[in-house]
């Protein structure tokens, strides 16, 4: 049994996982009847259908040839996600200005061309713009400095 289409193989597997997952969690809720559907009815049905489609895609991938899974480039993936998450964590305690530094700094690091001077200027511009437009201009309740 050879995987002829890895891309579809993993896609199928993913769909099966999601389908089964959603249907399984849905069992915590009431099913109801098809006449008076409960909160679990729709998700269970959909999860089941998704899993079946996933299975179909999986089987097809064993028979029909297809392309390989696209190459994962981990550096941008991890760093951009890290930058975003760190921003989320640091926003309230540290305020906008400081957490933006982390976001821009780590985010810029996710690319392949990191030049300190450029990044610093970019950061300053973005920080000023963000504070002026979002906090002062639009009045959004975002803390600007630590401890606000």
């Amino acid at each position: 049994m050879k995987i002829r289409a890895p891309k579809d193989f993993w896609a199928g597997l993913m769909f099966i996982a999601f389908g089964v997952g959603f249907a399984w969690v849905a069992q915590n809720y009431q099913m109801g009847t098809s006449v008076r559907m409960g909160p679990a009815y729709f998700p269970t049905m959909l999860g089941g259908i998704l899993a079946v489609i996933g299975l179909w895609i999986l089987i097809q991938s064993l028979i029909v040839a297809g392309g390989p899974v696209g190459k994962f480039y981990f550096r941008p993936l991890i760093l951009i996600v890290l930058a975003t998450v760190l921003f989320g964590v640091l926003l309230k305690p540290l305020g906008l200005v400081l957490s933006l530094a982390v976001l821009v700094g780590v985010g810029a690091f996710g690319g392949f061309e990191f030049r300190w001077k450029e990044v610093t200027i970019l950061y300053v511009v973005l920080a000023i713009f963000s504070v002026l437009v979002f906090v002062k201009g639009l009045g959004l309740p975002i803390p600007v400095w630590p401890g606000e």
Partner: protein, 500 residues
Amino acid sequence: MDLLNNLALGFTVALSFQNLLWCFLGVLLGTLVGVLPGIGPVATIAMLLPVTFTLPPVSALIMLAGIYYGAQYGGSTTAILVNLPGESSSVVTALDGYQMARQGRAGPALGMAAIGSFFAGTVSTLVIALFAPPLAEVALKFGPTEYFSLMVLGLIAAVVLAHGSLIKAIAMVILGLLLGLVGTDVNSGVARYSFGISELSDGIGFVTVAMGVFGIAEIMANLQQKDTRDIFVAKIDRLLPSMEDIKKCIPSVLRGTVLGSALGILPGGGALLASFAAYTLEKKSAKPPRNFGKGDIRGVAAPESANNAGAQTSFIPLLTLGIPSNPVMALMIGAMMIQGIAPGPQVMTERPQLFWGMIASMWVGNLMLVILNLPLIGMWIKLLTVPYRLLYPAILVFCAIGVYSVNNASFDIYMMAIFAVLGYVWVKLECEPAPLILGFILGPMMEENLRRAMLLSRGDPSVFFTKPISAVLLGISLVLLLIVLSPSIKKKREEAFQEA
């Protein structure tokens, strides 16, 4: 003739210096807000409500309305430029618009969006002026059964949105449906898939998913190569659409306008459906050669016309019945109440200046937006020439702040990050996000209406087929399904023949 008199009244109101000023402020602010991801017209209007206390009622409503459709224009701009759909209705614009931007054709894309929107705005203003009350009555005929059938049609259309594997598109639609179900179930009050996290009890926000799957995943995918100079073609083709482009798009704009005007009246998601439906219709009816998904300008013209037409006609239930069709309209009701105007059927007869003044100013606002946006295109193009290594952190910043500002919750930023990862994985597995987003939006509405229809009919499923509108919609769905499936059936048959 009555219509002319009314329109004349409307224009005298709309063209007063004060109202022109407020209209301009509104559309300007709306455009700015639409360009910034996350912060939408809802939040802006809410923040400006206290300002409207001091204004005369007509001016206040004109400004607020300007913000609303200004934001539609602005949202399309970011969708085209950086694949960030600011509003749910711009998701479809991003499909071809962003590809056009990558090819150096951002100018024509933006220009066509503006022109198409203006045309649609003009037509739909006329539609409102002529047919508002009867259209409102039609809208009332849509009950849960009809909505459900409409959603089914919409979902089948969603599958058409995809340009790759049909079966994976169907799977993505269903996955989107499931993700949309996260949150509190309307009919039972149970919080589904929230795992005890209170921020999830009202579901995953559209902005969160869109920013993650479209915006950030796109950044991560673009950063793959060491040399990011080719992300946006440096040589800009032209700043505005050519006459040829415009001519090509005339049927698309017309189709989009009709569809948008029709679907916009339906309270609760009509305008959303308009842009998706227009794109799907376009994909199937545009004259070949077709290039949808790879930068076909008609894939921008049609949904943009549709969503602007829909945005305008969504005022109809508000102005004629006093029922808001979406959260923005609910805010307008709030603004009216602040002014002491009780929104309802009598507004049209008791306050004709308000009613007709607003309608006239919608057209004025559209005009202002075209005049504002066309020159801006040059500026936006310049923006794209900024090296990508400097551009993407800026995009990241706007996404992060934008998503935070929706609920003032860092949790949303984490969710966006999760969806960014998922989006990246889906790109690698060649699973398209657009069908997922449609399923995400339509899913909960479909289920809600299905169960409500069953509740109302006391458990009788035949209702879907006995009610005329519903039956027609389901019939069209079936036909559409057959059209969608038949090419692949034909293909299978051809393969079978070849092997025989």
